[in-house]
């Protein structure tokens, strides 16, 4: 199962013939992703890395049955490219581009209403379901297949967490970086709901940052509706207030935006909160083991009494 993408996903790249899109399309293909073509307006009819190029997303969908798009289109044209993908019926749109104007994303999200699509990003490392589909710029080889669902804002902190987990034998069902922008296509909550329903995901790791309330919103929902361990980390405990920490959305505008306040709220909501980023893997392992012990005890209560 996994979420968002799998081996049956039919992937196109928008801005296909550009340098970065070309490199990452090749990497995706190398991992076994079903890349069916790409879009570069004006180059329709050509072939690029053995895949057909289309002028419009509509053509690409009609010819290839594409349902996932990876957007590498530069910031001035990103919003247009995303709306083109939405209109053409693409279901998962992953926007790698960094630097999309915020008000463009406000309009894109308005346009999204009434369409059955999910936007990941902008400014994201993308989505990967190990051994099945990679739609992003992450190094695929570090992602072992497994049963932990991972959702983060950051890309590199996501890699860090994956490495720590894989050293302890924990793999990933699907990993998503939602990106660091203040108005982004998809929030933690939307993905939490998908992970909650995914039979191949046993636990969810959420890696957030200072600024906004998305992590708390997702944890609030999870407390009421999700019967899987949720582990959380918030980066930026040492960030000064009022400064944008690299990600446009990573800014402390008030007390509730701080890492300390967010971690406190997550803790109150029953999340296993990681205080030190170096202990993410360990905390996930303890959380998963703790839960399976509980299950064993619940399934076999006589065991408990006889000990």
């Amino acid at each position: 199962m996994s979420i968002l993408v799998n081996k049956d996903s039919r992937v196109i790249f928008q801005g296909f013939t550009g340098q970065h899109a070309t490199f990452h399309a090749q990497e995706a293909i190398r991992m076994g992703t079903n890349v069916v073509g790409g879009v570069t307006p004006g180059k329709g009819g050509e072939t690029h890395i053995d895949r057909p190029v289309f002028d419009t997303v509509k053509d690409a969908v009609a010819e290839t049955g594409a349902d996932v798009s990876v957007v590498f289109v530069p910031p001035p044209f990103s919003a247009d490219a995303i709306m083109e993908a939405i209109e053409a019926g693409i279901k998962v749109i992953v926007v790698i581009t960094d630097g999309v104007p915020v008000q463009d994303m406000v309009r894109v999200k308005r346009y999204l209403i009434g369409h059955d699509a999910i936007i990941i990003g902008p400014n994201t490392a993308g989505v990967i379901t190990p051994e099945e589909c990679k739609v992003g710029i992450m190094p695929a080889h570090i992602y072992p297949k497994g049963r932990i669902g991972l959702v983060s804002r950051s890309g590199t902190l996501n890699y860090e967490a994956v490495e720590q987990m894989s050293e302890l034998g924990l793999g990933i069902s699907t990993s998503i970086s939602i990106g660091g922008d203040p108005v982004n296509g998809c929030d933690f909550l939307t993905l939490m709901k998908q992970f909650a329903d995914d039979p191949e995901t046993d636990a969810v790791l959420m890696i957030g940052e200072i600024g906004g309330s998305q992590e708390v919103d997702a944890a609030t929902w999870a407390k009421a509706h999700m019967d899987k361990p949720l582990i959380g980390f918030i980066a930026g405990a040492t960030a000064p207030p009022g400064r944008t920490m690299g990600h446009a959305g990573a800014i402390i505008s008030g007390e509730s935006d701080t890492a300390q306040a967010k971690m406190r709220r997550l803790d109150e909501l029953g999340v296993s909160v990681v205080q030190n980023a170096a202990e993410i893997g360990q905390t996930v392992l303890q959380s998963v083991n703790g839960r399976s012990n509980e299950r064993d005890e619940a399934a076999n209560p006589s065991c408990v009494s006889s000990v």
Partner: protein, 390 residues
């Protein structure tokens, strides 16, 4: 990107909003001539810096005569103003805004933000003007009115009237205030703003509205299509090192600890700073080298971080995704060949082409402290800062 109050008011004027008569002056003499030109029998001399809290810090002075205008301007221009938002060092005042003094009846708050909860532009208004709106919202949330704008149709007149009535306006004042809200919205939308604040929006004793103060910030990612706004950037208001770093496409923020940091990715950079703090140290800076860090970029990052005299150890933490460890290693070798480095360097590399990167470093004969993991790297850096041999 932030701009000055006088620049904000110029934008307001262009959108038809009522602002007090006044202009910016670079010198005390110019301040007096501005006062003469705008006329009246009283003036306000306001220090122009990109930080709030000016009033309480003495940055806003009332003058009853042209002599007083001269005195206040002389005192402010060239001084460092310390407000609750500037930090101890304060900000250099290079110019003042001279305006006609107003007879104020009531003060209101009016602002627009991109609200992260609704992910839309939201109008904020309050009858408690002249105060910090976050404090008002915390103490008396019912005093703060929020109205979300549907991006498909923009801010509507009825929404403005509703908000005007909710902050206690009546009669013709409702239409007047609604007009200002619409003008403010258009300005915000057209110029790709992230935040605009009129605090206070006042009514004068003759019943007119005036934007007595104005604050505005803009989306740095939209400056490519806002050349007039980009021209308003005042580099004097920014840390020169941060400006230099951004020129090299590096994201740098100076802090006050002893562990200099070079990291790729904003999230990992913050987490690295946090880890340093958990092991008992303090980060000297935030620095994100971003994706695709070339050897030149790494070398520039070294130079910028090491220019800070507080830096006692340098911690490099790179998790290469699109980056490659061999490129990073080449950058380190180049940086260490190009400049004398008087502090210990802790290097933690991980990810793509790790073995090739390690090989380059070990064969270079460079003197550095190797770390395998984040915990290891942070701990070694803190020990090195404390003078321990690691």
């Amino acid at each position: 990107m932030n701009i000055h109050e006088y620049q904000t008011k110029e934008l307001f004027r262009n959108y038809g909003m009522p602002v007090p008569e006044g202009r910016m002056a670079h010198s005390a003499n110019k301040a007096v001539s501005v006062a003469e030109q705008v006329g009246g029998d009283g003036w306000v001399v306001k220090a122009q810096i990109h930080a709030g809290g000016r009033g309480k810090a003495g940055g806003v002075q009332l003058a009853r005569s042209l002599d007083e205008v001269q005195q206040h301007a002389e005192k402010l221009i060239g001084s460092r103003l310390v407000t609750k938002q500037t930090g101890e060092a304060g900000r250099m005042v290079n110019r003042v805004l001279v305006e006609q003094m107003q007879q104020i009846d009531k003060e209101y708050y009016l602002g627009l933000v991109i609200d992260r909860a609704s992910q839309r532009i939201t109008l904020i208004a309050s009858a408690s003007g002249g105060m910090d709106i976050e404090e008002v919202a915390a103490a008396t949330p019912e005093q703060v009115i929020n109205e979300v704008v549907d991006p498909a149709v923009g801010l509507q007149d009825f929404q403005c009237r509703k908000v005007a009535a909710a902050i206690g306006l009546s009669g013709k004042q409702i239409m007047k205030a609604a007009r200002i809200m619409k003008q403010l919205y258009r300005c915000f939308r057209d110029k790709d703003a992230l935040m605009v604040e009129i605090n206070p929006l006042v009514t004068t004793q003759d019943g007119q509205f005036l934007a007595l103060d104005g604050k505005m910030s803009f989306d740095g990612n939209a400056l490519f299509r806002q050349p007039e706004i980009a021209d308003l950037r005042d580099f004097d208001e920014e840390d020169p090192k941060e400006v230099e770093a951004s020129g090299h496409d590096l994201n740098y923020i100076a802090l006050d600890g002893g562990v200099g940091c070079i990291v790729n990715g904003a999230g990992l950079a913050m987490a690295t700073m946090d880890a340093i703090s958990l092991y008992g140290g303090r980060p000297a800076n935030f620095l994100d080298v971003g994706g695709g860090a070339s050897p030149e970029k790494i070398a520039n990052a070294f130079r910028i971080v090491l220019e800070d005299p507080n830096v006692k150890v340098l911690l490099l933490n790179i998790y290469a995704g699109i980056n490659r460890c061999d490129w990073i290693a080449e950058g380190i070798v180049k940086a260490m060949a190009d400049q004398t480095i008087g502090v210990p360097i802790v290097v933690r590399l991980a990810g793509t082409n790790l073995e090739a990167g390690r090989k380059i470093l070990s064969e270079s004969g460079l003197d550095y402290i190797h770390a395998d993991r984040l915990s290891d790297a942070a701990e070694k850096a803190v020990r090195a800062v404390n003078g321990e041999v690691v």
